[in-house]
């Protein structure tokens, strides 16, 4: 499969770490003027031409798959153009910076047969794979409550994080992981929600919201909280602190510090971790299957919609319905 990479601002390693004979990277280009491609071109795993313009890249290479990795708020144009051309897209999340852009992407995706997927790589890491498989095999009864949390170090972020227009917002960019987990592990739809966010104390990061908090009501009366912040101190041992807790009628599963803990009718115990998987390898598989291909697109569109509606609600009246 012929792959190209547009942009150098997100999780390119999901692709580079998945190198296999199943695909080859045939070209790269910035997604917006001024986006530095240096760290990508300097990666020893990259051995392909750099194009100055991503339209030219698509024209010349005519790829099967675009990795869309540009500034989050500018990624929608690349995705839309790729879908128009029938090219599969593996995109940073959110898929768009506004609901209008997202509607356009949904329309193009529905019209064609290209597969559209989001970079929800955390759900392919060892603890999340372990949780997923336990839910499939044993389960925790009827799910009642989900608590998700993302906490990152702020550090000094590139300029494009400081503008809503290019960053999209903390709920869409960071929170999309939490919304991914909530939808993925519940298997239910979100019916309504409430969201707060604040840019205070963001150390000169402009529009970037330092904190955000979302509550969701899902089908079946399931409730879900999502707390997001950039308050993780610089001295902490890891960049991110990802937490997820699922409470059901027959047990409670919790991920913290990269470990998985279970309480059910037996002893409280830590679960042995299953191996991590590759989100990009899984996406490549999905590109070969009509059915799972549609699931990827539906999921990425749903997560993006929830995130953008949450962000817009946090800006305004706070509560929203779907």
């Amino acid at each position: 499969m012929k792959v190209v990479i547009v942009g150098n601002s997100g999780h390119k390693n999901y692709v580079l770490d998945a190198f296999s004979p199943a695909f080859s990277i045939e070209g790269v280009a910035p997604g917006v003027e001024g986006e530095s491609m240096d760290s990508l071109m300097g990666d020893p795993r990259i051995d392909c031409p750099l194009y100055a313009d991503w339209h030219a890249l698509l024209d010349r290479v005519n790829p099967d798959l675009v990795v869309n990795n540009t500034w989050y708020g500018r990624a929608a144009a690349v995705t839309a153009e790729s879908l128009k051309r029938g090219i599969h897209v593996f995109a940073e999340k959110p898929l768009a910076g506004s609901l209008e852009e997202l509607d356009e992407i949904r329309r193009l995706w529905r019209k064609g047969s290209a597969v559209l997927g989001g970079m929800f790589g955390i759900s392919y890491s060892a603890p999340f794979v372990t949780l997923r498989e336990y839910l499939k095999s044993e389960g925790i009864g009827r799910l009642r409550m989900i608590n998700a949390r993302k906490s990152y170090k702020l550090g000094e972020r590139p300029e494009f994080y400081k503008h809503r227009d290019t960053y999209t917002g903390t709920i869409p960019w960071v929170g999309s992981h939490g919304v991914d987990w909530i939808l993925r592990y519940s298997g239910k739809r979100i019916l309504e929600g409430y969201a707060l966010h604040s840019t205070e104390e963001n150390c000169g990061h402009g529009d970037l919201e330092l904190t955000a908090l979302c509550s969701y009501l899902l089908e079946d009366g399931i409730q879900a909280s999502l707390s997001i912040d950039y308050c993780r101190p610089g001295a902490a041992s890891t960049h991110g602190d990802d937490r997820l807790r699922l409470a059901g009628t027959e047990g409670v599963l919790e991920i913290r510090e990269g470990r998985v803990f279970l309480i059910d009718s037996g002893e409280e115990r830590e679960m042995p971790l299953l191996p991590a998987e590759s989100v990009f390898s899984s996406f490549l598989q999905a590109c070969l299957s009509t059915e799972s291909g549609r699931i990827w697109g539906d999921h990425a569109l749903s997560v993006s919609e929830i995130c953008l509606k949450s962000r817009d609600a946090a800006d305004g009246c706070r509560r929203f319905t779907l």
Copy 2:
């Protein structure tokens, strides 16, 4: 100080464990018809008469302080009558089952000089005392995010838990601890909120909500989540799983499993625990001081108001403002 106990349905041990020459228990009575006083009268630390009626108890003993420990949804009448008589009240939370009852209690409390306090005993346990003192001495910069969680075993609860009228609800009864923490450790007011709850899967417990979720916006743009559930499996090592996380601009403090963890500019570390304190002994001290006495009443009334407004919002339009 002459103390009487009305009812036998809440945290009587806060009082019994605090025995000292500073007070003596001179009588007990049920708070409602049908409330069993057996376990209280059978306690070796109790050596006083049992009255059939709490009005008669107040008439005969003329106490300085009433411990109000009856069914949560029926406690307001005892508190109101005691305040009318100028008697200090140490009460189960919430202070009332409805906002109308709470208004009446506030009115009586403002008119007199009796001290009114809530049974927020968890905030006097070792990890919470440790957290409180660290916030006082070192702090974590400017507080931005609070995440509170309560998870209890459901088990088989007495009949009065199964009716809103006598139980008040899961947000008021269980959630009041979380609201206590949020107000106490932020020192800020809650401006608005959003709440959800559900009785589904409550194993025949009638009106009792198995799960509830609240989001609050505080002064200064601080956000707070409060997740409550009765999903803790019976096999778990402790009855309750209390979690609290405070994220500020200079550090993150977290209580879990009875321990306190800190991340700041130094290494991530567990903090040595300070000794637990007694909520009832502290309340007795407050009864001797006009200033701290008013703080106790203000706090218990605020927590109760937030909880009742959250519960009512969860029943209806979900979002509320203060």
